[in-house]
């Protein structure tokens, strides 16, 4: 799995960070990236309405999560994206959306996974990998972005330290 890009959206759906780490995606204009971020934010919210009306059992996920928190005292997964859009698979890339407790969205775009017809669970395994990566990126974000006195919250992130650390993490 090659990571093409990492984007960060603030809780209003604005694109605050963009790092195209490895080539593989089309370059868009700055405005198009903002539109793209807004689209993902909107679609994410809409898809969480699907789950409610499609009457699919979702208590199980919450129960598992809750019992995890009860037994260990901490939430093992910082991803709070429970019902919204989680991943997109296309011919040229896969895109994953993770959300933190404060509503910041991390978008990770990777090379596509070749799935065989009728296979089961391959994409979910890939999702676990991406979730691990997300945890690491979130730690970097917590260190290098939120502890930076010159970084206002919800504002665009221009931070060389964060850039280099992220690149090191993704390419290791």
């Amino acid at each position: 799995m090659i990571v093409y890009s990492v984007y960060i959206l603030n809780k209003a759906g604005g694109l605050v960070y963009q790092n195209d780490i490895n080539p593989g995606l089309n370059r868009l204009s700055a405005n198009d990236y903002l539109v793209l971020a807004g689209t993902l934010h909107g679609v994410h919210a809409i898809t969480s309405r699907f789950s409610h009306s499609m009457k699919i059992e979702q208590n199980e996920i919450n129960m598992n999560n809750n019992s995890n928190i009860l037994s260990t005292g901490k939430s093992l997964n910082p991803n709070t994206n429970r019902t919204g859009l989680q991943s997109i698979e296309t011919d040229h890339f896969n895109l994953y959306i993770q959300q933190t407790l404060t509503g910041i969205k991390f978008i990770i775009i990777t090379s596509p996974l070749k799935t065989t017809p009728m296979s089961r669970g391959q994409l979910n395994n890939e999702l676990d990998l991406v979730n691990y990566l997300f945890r690491q990126i979130y730690i970097l974000y917590g260190d290098y972005v939120s502890k930076d006195p010159f970084q206002a919250s919800d504002m665009p992130i221009k931070n060389q330290l964060f850039d280099t650390k992220l690149r090191e993490l993704v390419n290791q």
Partner: protein, 247 residues
Amino acid sequence: MSEDLIIPSISSSVNKITISDTSKTGFGYNPAVGPSSNEITEDTSSILINKRTISLTPHSSNSILDRNLNKKVNEISLSSLSFLFCEIVNWCHKNSKGIQDLENRLNGLGYQIGQKFLELVKIREGVKYSKRETKIVEILQFIHSSMWKSMFGKIANELEKSQDLNNEYMIIDNLPIVSKFINVPKEYGNLNCSAFIAGIIEGALDSAGFFANVSAHSIPKDDNPLRTVFLIKFDESVILKEELRYT
């Protein structure tokens, strides 16, 4: 809509507590509603009042202020330190008129710490082994190793003497801990938040009787982008004193 509420410390009664008005998506942030509410209603408050708790706030016997001063290892969380320092920089920045002023303010805050910290390190070294440094090189070595170690848990990377000026010395740290997570934007020029540490050095030197001006400068190297040089300029009187006494 109702849902089970999580209160980690009560395990048996958890399933009975329900809270209206929370989203179905679990706790946390729901894009459609915002952060979900953990509001405490009448039903839950009685349970909360009756539950047994363990106090986590320090009281007289174990607060940090009442511990033995001589205890050598006093570790604190790097995260809380970074957040505190982040706010200190923000606060100074808000009050300052410019970059130079901001550095002066950070330096001033550090100065007061340095004055007191010198004494603390000396006390911790113990009366037996501790002595008052009288030579420039000795006090610098003391700051470079012992004091650095008790402040940051490591010794500074290098200690150098200027070849051109005989009153200039340099202490070099490849990764100053307080500014580990600070990225200075380009428009702030050569601001270095380690001016705070420079202030600590200055305070310590001054109260040891070596009057000096200390400033912090970023001199990055490839693998150490945050490498910082603390430039120490001693007062002429200090140099004179040293010459009279030891030559």
